[in-house]
Subunit: 412 residues, 2 copies
Amino acid sequence: MDIRTKGFGKRTLVKDALEILLSCTKITGTEKILFERGLGRVLAETIIAPIDVPPFDRAAMDGYAVKAENTFGASQGNPIYFKLIGEVSTGINSKLKINDFEAVKIMTGAALPKGANAVVMFEYTNELEDEVEVFKAVTPGKNVSFKGEDVKKGVVLLRKRGIIRPQDIAMLAAVGRQKIKVYKKPRAAIISTGDELAEPGEKLGAGKIYDANSYALAALVQASGGIAKRIGIIEDSPEKIRSAINIALSSDVILISGATSVGKKDIVPQVVAELGEILVHGVAMRPGEPTGFGIINKKLVFMLPGYPVAAIVAFETFVRPALQKMQGMEIRSPCQQVQARLKRKIASELGRRDFVRVKLERKGKEYLAEPIRTTGSGIISSLVRADGFVTVPENTEGIEKGEKVVVNLFRI
Amino acid sequence: MDIRTKGFGKRTLVKDALEILLSCTKITGTEKILFERGLGRVLAETIIAPIDVPPFDRAAMDGYAVKAENTFGASQGNPIYFKLIGEVSTGINSKLKINDFEAVKIMTGAALPKGANAVVMFEYTNELEDEVEVFKAVTPGKNVSFKGEDVKKGVVLLRKRGIIRPQDIAMLAAVGRQKIKVYKKPRAAIISTGDELAEPGEKLGAGKIYDANSYALAALVQASGGIAKRIGIIEDSPEKIRSAINIALSSDVILISGATSVGKKDIVPQVVAELGEILVHGVAMRPGEPTGFGIINKKLVFMLPGYPVAAIVAFETFVRPALQKMQGMEIRSPCQQVQARLKRKIASELGRRDFVRVKLERKGKEYLAEPIRTTGSGIISSLVRADGFVTVPENTEGIEKGEKVVVNLFRI
C-alpha cells in the first residue's frame, strides 16, 4: 500500500497556514490610471490637495452680494437701500468691487465680488431701478462658501491603501487630479485538473462531469478584485500539469484545483514540490483539508481541492486574503455578518475549523440559521441554497441547537 | 422678482416620490450571455437542471468498489477476501461489472462499476496478487456519490431575478449550461450643467470649478450595475441642454446635475417640462431638496442637485432603486448597516427626511456615530471623511445624543 493513500500525517491549523501564506505574499506592483477608472481600486499614494476647494469665495445662494455690516438693523419695516452696481454669473471672471452700501446681483456658485462678505437671498430683497431694498440683516459669511472651505490646498485628501469610493472620485475630480497611482490587480491563472472533466457546452461522455471549479474560481478572483485567466482543463498527468504551470507562471498567482489530496492520482503536490517548494499541504479544516500552497519562481501556487464546495471554502479562507494583500488592501472579511440562533446542532471535531453552510430564516426579531444537510463537499447545490456560513472554531466539538452564532453572508 | 426664485411651493415626501418613480420605471430588457460572464448579473429566466449531477454513480473515495453486503462481518482479525477483477480511473467509460465477492480498484470521481454499491477505502484493505483483503464492513452507499445526489434532472437550479454569485456560476457549469438570459444593464447618460464647470486636467480659469458630479454619478451608476456614459459639461443654456438631452435619449435613463433649483439659471426643469413631463420636482429631504424627475420619450430623466453631496444623496435615494428595478433586481438598500450610539445631537425639521453623514468610532463593544460638522451640501470632503449616514425620518425634529441609531455604511 502506497504511503500517499494514508491521509495527511500532519494538518496545519488555519491560523498558522494563513500566517505562513501572508508572510510570503507580496504586493503585485503599482500603475497609473485615470481617476475616473478608479472605483474599487486601492490607492498606492496619499493624495494631497493641489488647490483650494472651492478655489475662490463664492455665493452659496442666489441673491445680492453686500458688506454684511451695512445690513445691520434692516427689517421688513425698515429696509436698507443698496446701490446695484452690476451682476455676476457663474463661471465669470468679474472685476467688480463693492464699496459700502453697494450690491451686486449674484448667482449660486458665482465668485463673490471683492469687498463683499455675505449674500442676501432674493426673498429678503426687492429690486428697484438701480437700487435694492434689503429687509433682513445678514452676518458676515452668510450664504458664502469661502475659498478652501471644503478642502485647503496641501491637506491630505485620500490616504494610501484606501479603497476608492464614488465620493473619493468626486473629491479627485474636484481638485482636478487626472492620474492616480493604484496597486495593480493581481492576475490569477486558473487550472482545473482531472481526466473526468469536460467543458460546459460539450457533450458529456460516459464517466465525465463538467468542470465547475475553474469557473467558480474565476468568478471569485473577479469578486476579489483580481483578473482571472482560465488556462483550462488539464489531464492528470505530471507532464501536462508541469507544462500548464509553466504557462501559468506568466501570471501573478496560480490556482490549481483537483489532484491535491493523497490518492494515487494526486500528482499536483508532486509537481509543485518538484518545480518549487511546498509550504503547506493539508489544513485542519472541513471542507478543504487537502488545501495547500507553495512557491514556484517566486509565484504563489495554490493547490485547491477538487470538490467544488471545498475549493470555494479554501478560496475564501486563503486565496482571497492573499489577493487582498497583493493589491495593497487591508485583509478583511468580505462578508457582511448577522447574528442568528442555530436551528439544529452542529457536530465538529476538536482541532479542526469547520465551515458549515446555513440557510437563514427570519423569526420575529431574530434570525434562525439552519445548517444545510449535505452528503459532502461535492454538493454544489448546498452552496446555492445557502445564505452564508458559520465557522466552528478548533477549540470546540460543535455548537448546540439554540446557541447564538455569527453567520457570514455570501455576497457577490 | 421672479416667481422661480421663491423656493419650492410644495415638496413631495421621499416615500411618495419613490412610489411615483417606481410606478413608471420599467425593466430595460433581457439579453443572452455566456454563463461565465454572469457574476453579479440578474437572471431573467428560471434555470432547470438539464441533467443529473453527478451524472452517474461515482466513488467519493479512493478504494475498492464492492457489494457492501459481501463485507458484512469483516474485521481486522477476520478479513474477507475479494477477487480483484480490474481498475476504473476517472473519466473512463468502464464496462466492468461486479459479482459477489469481486472488487474493482477505483479512484475518487470514477464511475462505480455495475453491481457495486459501496467503496472500501484503501486504508481498510490489503491488496494481494489478484485478491483484496477487506478488514472493515461497509454499508450500502458508503463512499459513493449517487447519480443526481447533488441535483436531479428537472429541478429548479436557480430562480429568475436572483443575482448570480460565484457558487451559482459553479452550478451552471456543473450542468453544462453555456448561455443564460439575464436582464440588460441599464445605460445611463450623465450630463453636468454649469457655466462654472471645467474638466479635471484642464487649467482652472477664474470663477471656474472642476466638475465633480458627473464623475461621482458615473461611479455610482457603475456601482449600481449600470453602464455610465458621460455626455460631459453643458453650459446653462436651454438650447445646449435641449440638444444634450436629445443625444442622451439614446441611453435608457438620463441623469442631469445642476440647474435644477428655482433660481434664475435653473433651466433644467424648464427644458424637461418642455420636452416631456415632470413628475416630481422638489423633495422634502436634506440634502437634495431640488431633486426631481420626469419622462421624455418614455425615458426617465433625473434632475439632480448641483451640490455634490446633495447629488450623491439624491442618487442613493432615487436613482439607485430605479436602476435596480430596471435590471430586474429586488429593490433593496445597498448598504450594510450597523447600530451605533449618537455622539452628538442631530437637529432636523418635521416633515423632512434628513441624511446625516457620520463618522464611526469603536468604544468597547459598541460603535459611536459622530455627525460630521459641515457648512453645506457642497462639502465633498464631508462625504470622504464619513463612514456612512444616519437617516432622520420625517416624523421627528431630531435625534438626541446617546440615542441608538442605524448607520448605513458606505461601500463600493
